[in-house]
């Protein structure tokens, strides 16, 4: 079963991240590398990406002539997607376990971040 684990960050998360002390930045990077390595070695990693700062982000839709109209991101957005993993695991429990581990990435603050776990649709059906 495939799941997407989405790591969200508060609106000011990226700005704060830039101001982290060197040791925490290094610890965070080392954590992510090791986490991805373990996922890959377990044969569970389908893909993972980190997203660039929302400073550069645009909202886009087609105008009447079909050409793109762009706008800045929603000013009222409280959270942004910072990165995601797609994993292929035996069941939801394992996905939750991985999400919990991902949430403990070193950073500033006492609480682990929330990681949103979503099932990925597939073309298969179960035998009846």
């Amino acid at each position: 079963m495939k799941f997407m684990l989405m790591l969200n960050t508060p609106r000011d998360g990226y700005a704060k991240y830039m101001s982290w002390p060197k040791e925490i930045l290094e610890a965070n990077a080392a954590f992510m590398i090791e986490f991805n390595r373990k996922l890959s070695a377990a044969g569970e990693l389908v893909g993972a990406e980190g997203l660039a700062s929302p400073v550069q982000a645009k909202l886009v839709r087609a105008g009447k002539d079909g050409r793109p109209i762009t706008d800045g991101v929603f000013p009222e957005a409280k959270e942004f997607l910072a990165g995601y993993w797609i994993v292929d695991v035996d069941g939801p429990e394992r996905a939750y376990q991985l999400a919990a581990e991902a949430s403990t990435a070193p950073g500033i603050g006492d609480e682990p971040l929330w990681v949103e776990v979503r099932g990925i649709m597939s073309g298969r059906q179960d035998l009846e």
Binding site: S40, G43, L45, D88, D90, M121, S122, G123, D126, L127
Partner: protein, 419 residues
């Protein structure tokens, strides 16, 4: 089959030989993981050369020789490496010297021994499936990765972990004793069933080019049936696969949409597969035994469906009796759901709905779409449209299967529009 293109003919031939060649190597060198890699290399060499140069006179001997040469190279470099690492020198296996001199023999039972290894209960289902498809099915890592829609590197890791799991479990390449054998065979059949189920996807849309896992499962189960022709459950599983796969062409519409059993165009069912499945099952049921196992019962249910010329001709009392027997063998909640449907078909929707009530407390069905879907279906039959629409929608929200979601949404929309 004279029209089969040469490349495909070679591929099918290679995949039939794969477990035989691997068995010969494992018996000689004892190192399953390295032998398996050597066989994959030999298969790849053959896949490149044979379509160009023609199939050798002794194709299996050719493969054994090439695989053996790779394996001997591997053993030599291991010995050299260990020689350099003095600390490990005494761990050099004594089998190596003998292995370098001997001959690799083919034994038809090797396929079975390999299945017992690859489907060992110490492995997770995903690992067992991947390893079985590669080591016994002769598929490449890339093909398996494509079938499961994961990157090849991920599949390679999964296979290598599965091999480590086999090593750690200490399972040996030999026939388990009679008592353990039955248990291990049931693990093998379960993995083959899962492979078949993985292949049970819509045959249109994004999955059009999926490696055909259902056919692969049927091919491997056929091989097991050839080796154990007297085993009723092996025959039952093969019959179940054939009787289910027979409906493949009728199961999906032109847009990949799911067509339920009672709406399928039965003229599109594969009569040959049905005849074969029914024949296998009848022969298995005629044999004196303690009573039919789960696969035989499931196959019998599939056969009753397949033998009805029209949906309204279905012998539901017979299906209900078979689900009753199945329920006594296993406490699978999916069987209980199907039993409720059969009950509704025989004794009316209310009787079916009553059987669903206790299932609300079953942990294994919590959040599962099928309980909602079955209840919606029975409510629809009972004429309670509004409740049915709500439950079809609830089920559609819970499933992660695109064809099932589309089907459930369509069902809700159709019913909602009619009210």
């Amino acid at each position: 089959m004279t029209s089969t293109p040469p490349d495909l003919r070679v591929e099918l031939l290679l995949r039939d030989f794969a477990p035989q060649v691997l068995g010969a190597l494992v018996r000689r060198f004892r190192d399953f993981a390295a032998s398996e890699d050597a066989v994959q290399e030999a298969l790849a060499a053959a896949a490149a050369q044979w379509p160009r140069d023609g199939i050798p006179d002794q194709p299996r001997g050719w493969l054994v020789q090439v695989a053996q040469r790779r394996m001997i190279d591997h053993v030599r470099s291991e010995v050299a490496r260990r020689g350099r690492e003095a600390a490990f020198a005494e761990e050099t296996p004594l089998a190596v010297a003998a292995a370098l001199a001997g001959e690799s023999e083919i034994d038809p039972d090797d396929t079975l021994l390999l299945l017992f290894m690859c489907c060992h209960p110490a492995l997770s289902p995903a690992s067992a499936i991947a390893l079985t498809l590669r080591a016994v099915g002769g598929l490449t890592t890339a093909e398996i990765a494509k079938a499961f829609l994961v990157p090849p590197s991920t599949m390679a890791q999964r296979i290598s972990r599965a091999k480590q799991g086999i090593k750690a479990s200490g399972v040996r390449f030999q026939m388990p004793d009679a008592r353990e054998r039955a248990q291990r065979l049931s693990s093998v059949l379960h993995v083959l069933y899962l492979v078949f189920n993985e292949g049970y996807t819509t045959s249109a849309g994004p999955d059009l080019h999926r490696t055909d896992l259902s056919n692969e499962a049927i091919r491997l189960t056929r091989a097991v049936h050839r080796l154990l022709p007297g085993d009723g459950e092996v025959a039952g599983l093969l019959a179940l696969m054939l009787l289910t796969d027979a409906r493949r062409a009728a199961r999906t519409g032109p847009g990949g949409e799911l067509i339920p059993l009672d709406e399928q165009d039965r003229t599109r069912w594969d009569a040959q597969a049905i005849t074969e499945g029914v024949g296998l099952l009848s022969a298995a049921l005629r044999r004196p035994q303690r009573g039919p196992g789960e696969y035989q019962l499931q196959a019998a249910i599939a056969a009753v469906h397949d033998e009805a010329p029209r949906a309204e001709d279905t012998d539901w009392p017979q299906i209900l009796a078979l689900y009753g027997m199945l329920l006594r063998l296993s406490d699978n909640p999916m069987v209980a759901l199907n039993h409720a449907i059969a009950t509704a078909m025989v004794h009316g929707p209310q009787a079916g709905l009553e059987l669903l009530t206790p299932l609300d407390d079953d942990e294994r069905l919590r959040g599962h779409h099928r309980l909602d879907a079955v209840r919606a279906h029975l409510l629809e039959r009972a004429g309670n449209r509004q409740a049915a629409v709500a439950l079809y929608r609830a089920a559609a929200e819970k499933t992660t299967s695109i064809p099932e979601r589309n089907y459930l949404e369509m069902r809700a929309a159709r019913l909602g529009a009619a009210t």
